[in-house]
Symmetry: C2
Subunit: 337 residues, 2 copies
């Protein structure tokens, strides 16, 4: 069955782990004592999650999930967006659903009614504003091919996937189905590599995806270097160039590189007076970039929009925007479009 | 049974409504459309709470409750503190318990195992950084005299009560018991008037308390003016002076007035570059002040400590401190102690 030629109803549909973030400041010693890897995400089971939470300081709860952050921010910018992800029918699941829906995101994946509770990500923010994450996937492991709304995926210009989903066999199959559906409908597949350790866990498959179904790849420098097993960003560029229509490598306060088969654009960052919490920087970058793409912008303004959205989110605690992203993006792109 | 002369184990024991705050930016129109009074707290039932939440934007969940905010902040400053309040045995109740316990607060009031869910306060923050609150009291209405741990109250230098508890008949009896216990043990009773509308609901009783069992009264200017039915702060001072050992009137960016039977001290505010969210300003002021009192400080440094703690909390979203309060207080009191 082909959907090619059917009308586009959404700019972006995201598929990801539906997670509530539990953010707390922490010292380096806490990170080390729990065997976490600073700046990265470690998967933990419920027993470890409960024990770690009991030892954490007071926290703030904010709906999170890498892809959901991107989708919520794209909605804030004005994109027409939808989300597919799995929560349980508990208080945290209601909070997650509320926060996405009220951001203007179409989200109707049914909650699981038994089994594990809604996923939590314990986000430990060290004084250097780095975030170290320990994720209990909970209800996310219930996401499967039956949750992929084929009509929805076919109706969106871009399907945006998070690499983290590769940690679960059923979700992996769901993503493969979604990619096939998107391409049959003439849509683009975008994906983020999510985390250097996630890349290490799935390097062979991720390389296959990059050479195959992925049209637009988002990665930060560490993730991209891990993917290609090199230690220099220009080696990454050389090896990835041409494998996808677009490769975007984000580089923190050094801005980003936008790589097409024919060109490489170096785009500067957007200045932030003080970095409070880097949680969500990559997620928001992807939001700004995809928003620009869906608007038909050139690549450099897309990357500037990404940088502006990322700058907003790292200037406060939490991974969802608090200020008017649209205005910040307009300022950042200035006269460029 | 008298506890007078028994050793002090805590500096402060707080009794209040155990509430999880659900914070969201909102426009004035939303406040008006829902019949809320800007800057104040309105009590709502579960049906209204659910309907209002459905229409609210994306939110952040933070443990709150006026008195619990004070107690958590006092713990952060180094006071030995305990809390008495009622949550349900649900996910939000666990979050509330975690956040207080991990802040170093002794908290062992048993959760309710049936009946309403843990209380939520929908906090709508308008662009002028004012907070308007709609509270569903949920499990808080289960708090009763049986929850007052007599030994605990008798073991603390100060018992700190929130005026909001006066909205519930059983909690009111619990507070009267706590005041009697505290005085029999030779301790001091401190109370906050909480909210101008709360004062209006209970003016006669609050006046009686001020003239009677309350030793230390915290009120912002509006609350104090409402209590005495005058419209000028110096009239408030004149009428309240001598009724309690100490009356502290907070005045936002005008600082505070500390009123003893013999003197009035005007104490300046602590400067904040940008007020982001005024939620918790009064709560944190009380924390800094009581911390200072428990340390045996003079009144002016106590008020400066309160101002420093308040300044921290209004410079970000949410009513619990994110930075090192102790250091901010040390800077604010400078050479004064």
């Amino acid at each position: 069955m082909s959907h090619a030629g059917e009308p586009v109803q959404f700019d972006i549909v995201g598929i990801g782990n539906a997670i509530v973030d539990v953010l707390s400041p922490a010292e380096e010693a806490f990170i080390n004592a729990h065997g976490l890897v600073k700046g990265s995400m470690t998967l933990i089971d419920e027993v470890v999650a409960d024990a770690m939470y009991a030892q954490m300081g007071p926290a703030v709860e904010v709906s999170g999930g890498s892809c959901a952050n991107t989708i919520a921010a794209a909605a804030a910018l004005g994109s027409r967006v939808a989300y597919i992800g799995k929560v349980a029918d508990d208080q945290l699941g209601e909070i997650f659903r509320h926060d996405l829906s009220s951001a203007g995101v179409h989200f109707d994946t049914p909650p699981s009614t038994d089994g594990p509770s809604t996923a939590r990500c314990l986000v430990l923010v060290t004084p250097d504003a780095q975030r170290t994450m320990a994720t209990y996937l909970g209800a996310c492991v219930e996401l499967g091919p039956e949750d992929i709304d084929i009509e929805l995926v076919a109706a969106a210009s871009f399907v945006y996937l998070e690499g983290y989903l590769w940690d679960q066999p059923r979700a992996k199959q769901a993503l493969r189905d979604a990619m096939t559906t998107a391409h049959r409908a003439g849509r683009k597949v975008a994906m983020t590599l999510s985390d250097p350790f996630c890349v290490a866990r799935h390097r062979a498959e991720f390389r296959e995806l990059v050479a195959g179904p992925i049209d637009i790849l988002f990665a930060n420098q560490l993730e991209a270097e891990s993917l290609m097993e090199v230690t220099e960003v220009w080696d990454v560029v050389e090896r990835l160039q041409g494998q996808c229509e677009l490769v975007i490598v984000t580089r923190g306060d050094q801005g980003s590189l936008v790589v097409t088969p024919d060109a490489v654009y170096e785009v500067g960052p957007v200045h932030v007076p003080e970095v409070i919490d880097s949680t969500g920087a990559g997620d928001l970058f992807a939001a700004g970039f995809l928003y620009g793409l869906a608007q038909g912008w050139d690549l450099v303004p897309c990357a500037r929009a990404g940088a502006a959205a990322a700058a907003e989110v790292i200037s406060h605690f939490g991974a969802r925007p608090e200020r008017d992203l649209g205005e910040l993006v307009r300022i950042a792109i200035g006269e460029e479009i």
